[in-house]
Subunit: 380 residues, 2 copies
DNA sequence: GGCCTTTAGTAAAACAGTTTACCCGATTTC
DNA sequence: GAAATCGGGTAAACTGTTTTACTAAAGGCC
């Protein structure tokens, strides 16, 4: 009869030591174990193909070494390049630290059953990373001010006390403004993201407008139209812009999808992107490079955003673990707070490549302009 | 001092019963519990906000109620609509049965460390669903003939004994052939998937060719060109086709991405899709509908594929659980085999909406033709 | 040689459930 | 009226780790 999984006791027996010893060796707390014993045990582990049970390991520490990524309930959310890049970043960093990732979709049932709290309570998951959160996700309020490890990725809710991590949207807006101005554009419109619904969309819009103002270029309200972050609405917004102000030479779009919509609008109205109309996007999704003409856009490094979000999560978990269980944890987490300052954290918990040193102030993920061929230079 | 998570013992004490009773109630094995006791306990559970620990629950049964989805190491695999739809299907079905999903990417490190075996061995995961597997994934051989719950989604490896679940590619090929023939096309080319690397790609190609032959339309070898399932190569393949055989009236592409490439090739050569060249795709990804002109394509229902794959996985796990542990399991799994017949399985384990009754023989996921505007009728 | 440190290791108690075998009193059966 | 059955429940063992507190032996010191 085939033996089932070997347990730590099997290893201990076969090596002539106690389970404690094996455990100490596995967890590298082997200060106290002679190297002779250690190598003997390691050999047994190898021979028996012993793998410690995650379930059993997690039981005492109440940790499953698993992080949940929550996506909004959009049709085919998984199939979106924006989420895809962030998830890749999170996954890679988590895997490096031997954490696993689980996926959740914030459907009505998910929210109704408070699954976002339950998966934490039942130890399924150590922390939550929420992608694509908007003001519609009222239930986030439940998590407000809590020491629960929740991180909002790429949005912020000033009204609730939640930890978030963001790309440097103000800088993105400035880069776009500077570039268009430098190329000689003075009549500029903008297709913005859903304003008052997504904090970062407003950050971008305001930074863009303010920077143009600094250059002495005013941009009237009706030249900023909401494109809802999507292709169709983006197209309509751009069409409206071009209709009301035919002498516009450039349009800045709050994301690449809307910029693609603007391409379509331009074509439909007989304008040629890259020759008699300039368009700047924001995201640098793969589609931007393959667009016709290839799109000049502000690259937001979503992969790095994912890595940074995961790093922050792991750091918070490390903190929580390091100062005892239960009681004191709450205060400690409170003190560490929504740690936007990314202060120096205790060594052990900090993973190798946190990118911390390259983060701009306030922990923003850096951005840069990618020049391709959708912007005309109006200079002599 | 705040109490930490309540345990089953807390619930038991507060309700004046034993932990056993609480456990029986939670697990609905409450045949033996009076409804008075049950409601009393349920009330306590509610009051204490008690959630059984997944870790502790899994320990005796060695099950984490978690399934792993493995994706190939393509750049930004998460950002692919094909995978996205399948994952959505798997996720939805799993969530319904209270299973969680974890994500893995089959990178070199993943394979080198045999993580695909380890996550099973260490009880992180109860089963593996592999998406996008190709002949390159030699390590799959490791899993051959094993009773480990591994399911290959949408590919098959005749040389290894692995459980797989597939869309009805032969039917897809026939639908495309019938449609083009019915519209009067007689000079037809094909951009196929990577032949000899992906079993299902060959199924599709062969079915298409054979069906045309049945209609009396022969299709010469050089009119079938490999497009590697991707836009760029698909474009080149189509261009080659149109160059060598200018009087071609129609091209069938093995997936939508290649069809989109074919659109580009046609445009570049001055041909107009939907008027003087007909193109049929295969997949029906969102991009097919928004293409210009909207693409006629064979719809492979990837969401349903995901649901079916997950259902099969859960059924296998149900079987494994139901007949004791360890020893007998292997035989049982063997008997159930690569269960393409989808025979009637023991009741309890079978989830509500398996779609089983609508599956064609051999458990293929059904397909259908979606007529849009990329095919011209040559009939009077 | 006795006392104090180390060193290397261990026993046993958590952790939080499930499961098996059993118990006790009230009916039913014969 | 005694034995068997049944309803309703429980005690205790078990799952596989980690962790705390302890110990036995060896080494250093005077």
């Amino acid at each position: 009869m085939a033996k089932s999984r070997p347990s730590i006791r099997d290893v201990a027996r076969e090596s002539g030591v106690s389970p404690t010893t094996v455990s100490l060796i596995i967890n590298q707390v082997d200060e106290r174990i002679s190297s002779a014993t250690r190598s003997r045990v390691l050999k047994t582990i190898d021979r028996l193909q012993y793998k410690p049970s995650r379930l059993a390991q997690g039981l005492p520490s109440k940790s499953s070494k698993t992080l949940a990524i929550i996506l909004p309930d959009l049709h085919m959310a998984f199939a979106d390049a924006y989420f895809g890049e962030i998830i890749s970043g999170i996954y890679d960093h988590a895997a490096e630290q031997d954490y696993r990732i689980t996926l959740e979709v914030a459907r009505r049932s998910f929210v109704r059953s408070k699954r976002y709290l339950n998966i934490l309570d039942d130890c399924s998951v150590d922390g939550l990373l929420f992608l694509g959160a908007t003001e519609e996700h009222r239930w986030l309020e439940d998590c407000s001010g809590s020491d629960r490890p929740l991180i909002i990725v790429n949005n912020r809710f000033p009204q609730w006390d939640l930890d978030s991590i963001l790309c440097d949207y103000p800088m993105a807006g400035r880069l776009a403004a500077d570039h268009l101005f430098a190329q000689g554009h003075r009549h500029i419109g903008m297709v913005c993201g859903p304003s008052a619904k997504v904090y970062t969309a407003d950050e971008l819009t305001n930074a863009f407008i303010d920077r143009l103002a600094e250059h002495g270029v005013a941009i009237r309200d009706r030249l900023v139209v909401d494109g809802e972050f999507n292709v169709g609405p983006g197209q309509r917004a751009a069409a409206q812009l071009l209709a009301t102000e035919p002498n516009l030479t450039a349009i800045f779009c709050g994301n690449d999808k809307m910029a693609l919509g603007a391409y379509q609008a331009a074509r439909a109205m007989g304008r040629h992107v890259g020759t008699d109309l300039s368009i700047v996007g924001c995201d640098d999704l793969p589609a931007a490079a393959t667009a016709d003409p290839p799109m000049t856009t502000v690259r937001l490094n979503y992969y790095d955003l994912g890595v940074a979000a995961c790093a922050r999560m792991l750091r918070r978990l490390g903190l929580a673990r390091s100062n005892g269980n239960a009681q004191k944890t709450a205060d400690a987490a409170k003190a560490a707070g929504p740690s936007n300052t990314d202060a120096k954290a205790p060594g052990a918990a900090v993973p190798a490549k946190t990118h911390r040193h390259v983060l701009p102030p306030a922990g923003r993920i850096p951005v840069r302009l990618v020049e391709r061929q959708s912007v005309v230079s109006l200079n002599v």
